[in-house]
Amino acid sequence: MEQTSSHSIEHRDDTASKLGMWLFIFTEILLFGGLFIVYSVYRYKYPVAFHLANQELNRSVGLVNTIILLISSMTVAMSVSAIQQGKKKLTITLLAITIFLALLFLVNKYFEWGIKFQHGLYPGSSILHELSHGDILFFGLYFFMTGLHALHIIIGMTLLAVILAKVKNERINSGDFVLLENGGLYWHLVDLIWIFLFPLFYLIH
């Protein structure tokens, strides 16, 4: 036990809070992991329908969103380096860029889904119900998995915005930045999930 005299410094354990964040990330990995298994089982059972339904999706929109997420992952990783060096302004700029890129991702997603909706492809639509069982499963999984992922983007954006505000009023600084690190970890998780979603839904025919 460490015998420190009772100064009024709050007790912090950065390692423990990072460990907690990782435990949370594990639960997220298994949540999406379960969905990926459902996807692969149905893909195995309905190869033709999945093959054809796959071609409905727009590769380039998926690719652009992949690039956006990869860049945003880098900016958030850089923001951790910046706060470690005590560069407050740079940290704020990098976080702002990350949030902007997240917004861009969602705008793309909005247009992508919008076109699908216009073609009558949305969960529970009458056009979708006339298609084969495999098609219904493919689009069901597509909307659910990318939708759940988009929800994570929104949560991540909110988290990063809170972190940005805290960097601004110096609640997060070069001596105490574990919240920024954890927010960064969450953002990288969102990226990790997309790295598997992108080839599975958009690329593989």
Partner: protein, 94 residues
């Protein structure tokens, strides 16, 4: 206070990691546009795993974290792999 030695990843290295990830993304796109049968899925998943590995190691700082954390991540990956294997044994040999 046990101030752990913190490792600052340089901006240049972060940028290099991004370049590697972008190259791998382009490689996935290129490989999946060629008709290779079942190898398309295999290649795409291998490249995706490589990308995830790079992000875990560098962006998520696992390289510089305590060894326990790294082992925990490996355990989760193993558990998930076991889950996939068991599921597919069930479906393939039903």
């Amino acid at each position: 206070m046990s101030e752990e030695k913190q490792h600052i990843v340089s901006y240049k290295n972060n940028a290099l990691v991004l370049v590697a990830l972008l190259c791998l993304t382009m490689l996935t796109v290129a490989i999946t546009s060629v008709e290779l049968g079942p190898w398309n899925v295999t290649a795409a998943m291998l490249i995706a795993s490589l990308k995830v590995g790079i992000i875990l190691t560098y962006f998520m700082h696992l390289k510089f974290e305590h060894v326990i954390l790294r082992m925990m991540v490996i355990m989760v990956v193993l558990v998930f792999t076991a889950l996939i294997v068991i599921t597919f044994f069930d479906y393939l040999y039903r």
